[in-house]
């Protein structure tokens, strides 16, 4: 199969032969099904690649005002996030940095709008993973020294922390019964983190899954 540009940072790990691919214009292809056992894995512990979503970043003391002028509603607290009605999200990293993800048109608008004083565009080329399943907490406990129950208690929070030795941004989506953790890391650490997380997931009865299997 020939893949058009661009590609997920962990593209090489997804080339399994069994994967069913999704391809949209100008987005990295994504895996809708990893293999036939996706539902079983997802129930226990699934790791899916979400890197294909369009994404933009901006930081600096002028970022808040600049984004507001673009008509976006912003998270009011530092280290919190808001979903967009169309499924995308905006996260406030620390106090003056934002990550916008999901809607291609919105992302393109942000990337094409000229920056203003105190506004510093950030090219986001993250590896993005979604974790789900009944044993997801065990995976988190094996890789991260932060109690993620605080996220379930307050799902508007964003956590910037370290997982298996890599800096990550984490939030919890989904619901209390089926939480889905989403995490972002530098794309160049993506393969390492994917291999580490799916390796542990496999020990726990799960593994890599396609996006269709996410709850």
């Amino acid at each position: 199969m020939k893949f058009p540009s661009p590609l997920s940072p962990i593209h090489d790990a997804l080339l399994t032969g069994a994967a069913v691919w999704n391809s949209a214009d100008s987005l990295p292809p994504s895996v809708s099904q990893f293999d036939a056992s996706d539902p079983q894995k997802a129930a226990l512990l699934g790791v899916a690649d979400h890197s294909h979503l369009p994404r933009a970043g901006v930081k600096g003391p002028g970022a808040t005002g600049w984004l507001a002028e673009l008509g976006l509603s912003l998270p009011s607290r530092s280290n919190s996030w808001l979903p967009f009605p169309d499924g995308g999200l905006i996260g406030r990293l620390g106090n003056t940095e934002y990550l916008i993800e999901g809607n291609a048109a919105r992302v393109a608008q942000i990337m094409q709008t000229p920056r203003a004083p105190g506004v510093y565009p950030v090219l986001r080329q993250d590896a993005v993973f979604a974790l789900c399943g009944s044993r997801v907490n065990e995976l988190l406990l094996q890789t991260c020294n932060v109690d993620f129950r605080c996220l379930v208690a307050d799902p508007t929070q964003l956590l910037l922390t370290s997982m298996a030795g890599v800096s990550v941004l984490v939030l919890v989506a989904g619901n209390k019964i089926h939480p889905v953790y989403r995490l972002w890391c530098d794309g160049t650490y993506g393969l390492y983190l994917w291999e580490t997380l799916t390796g542990i997931a496999e020990e726990l009865g799960g593994g890599g899954i396609g996006l269709d299997a996410l709850p």
Binding site: S78, N79, L93, G94, N95, N145, V146, L159, L160, T161, S162, S167, V168, L169
Partner: protein, 85 residues
């Protein structure tokens, strides 16, 4: 593991942080003597006590100041550099 409190990210294990060292005010390079400049460059306030130190929360690249007792390893307070100005 020691807990360090990042002003933005809250209490976290100290392994999430990078330690730089004590804040040392730089003498004016234009007016100070060679000797006091060398003192600034090399010498340290080595005795234990409460010190103001630079720390960085790595995942968020947040630099802040920790007031820490270097004998008991007690963090008395942490704050952003700007807050001290």
């Amino acid at each position: 593991m020691k807990i360090m409190t990042c002003p933005f990210n809250g209490p976290r294990p100290v392994s999430e942080f990078f330690y730089w060292g004590e804040i040392r005010p730089m003498p004016d390079p234009a007016t100070c003597s060679d000797e006091s400049w060398a003192d600034y460059i090399f010498n340290r306030n080595g005795a234990p006590g409460v010190k103001q130190e630079w720390w960085c929360h790595i995942a968020s690249n947040t630099w802040f100041i920790a007031e820490r007792n270097t004998e008991k390893d007690l963090v008395l307070r942490t704050y952003l550099f700007e807050e001290e100005l």
